[in-house]
């Protein structure tokens, strides 16, 4: 199954892209994906732990199981206002 992953602000700068697409096995947990991304982009590690994420534009828990077509986003500490 395919998911879209978005990166914002400092994470976007680390990854060098605003968005990537990944092929995942059925049953992949959000936490597995995050670990995978930390391996690919080691500078994501140690930034803020745990990394805050959203799935389909809602804040998500690490143990959620991903589905085909999900839009995941990695969200650095927010600072609007």
């Amino acid at each position: 199954m395919k998911v879209k992953i978005k990166f914002f602000a400092s994470y976007r700068e680390i990854v060098g892209k605003h968005e990537i697409t990944m092929d995942l096995k059925q049953g992949t947990k959000l936490s597995d994906l995050i670990e995978d991304l930390k391996c690919r982009y080691p500078r994501l590690q140690g930034f803020t732990d745990p990394i805050v994420t959203s799935v389909n534009k809602k804040y998500a828990r690490d143990d959620v199981i991903l589905n085909d077509g999900d839009e995941i986003a990695l969200l650095p500490p927010v600072s609007g206002g």
Partner: protein
Amino acid sequence: MIIISRNDFSVGDVLSKIRTSKTGAIVSFVGVVRGEEKGKKLVKMEIEAYEEMAEKELIKLKDHALKKFDVQEIIIWHRVGTLFPGDNIVLIAVSSAHRKDAFAATQFLIDELKKVVPLWKKEVYEDGEEWVEEKK
């Protein structure tokens, strides 16, 4: 009304939109780009949003405030893109019958906005740049 936009707002226009026949108080908060941070001169600020999610979160916040406080109308306008010292960043305006409710709701909204809405500010100085982190 929830707006995320590159465009600036007119406080006067916005305030005229939240008046009802029972309004006795209107409180507004405007966040402005400071020309100086930690003693360093700011060149500009870049504001980035996860727009679709930020809009959802702002609507949730607004609905929460409408339940939590005895207020009438709420407008939140947050700008994105490149801003310069003195530019407006955000406007929150609340109308109510009595002033205590509008003050409490406005403070609640800006406090929560800074905690949960996916918006990020980068400060650009002459000698570098930095993503802002809110003090917890």
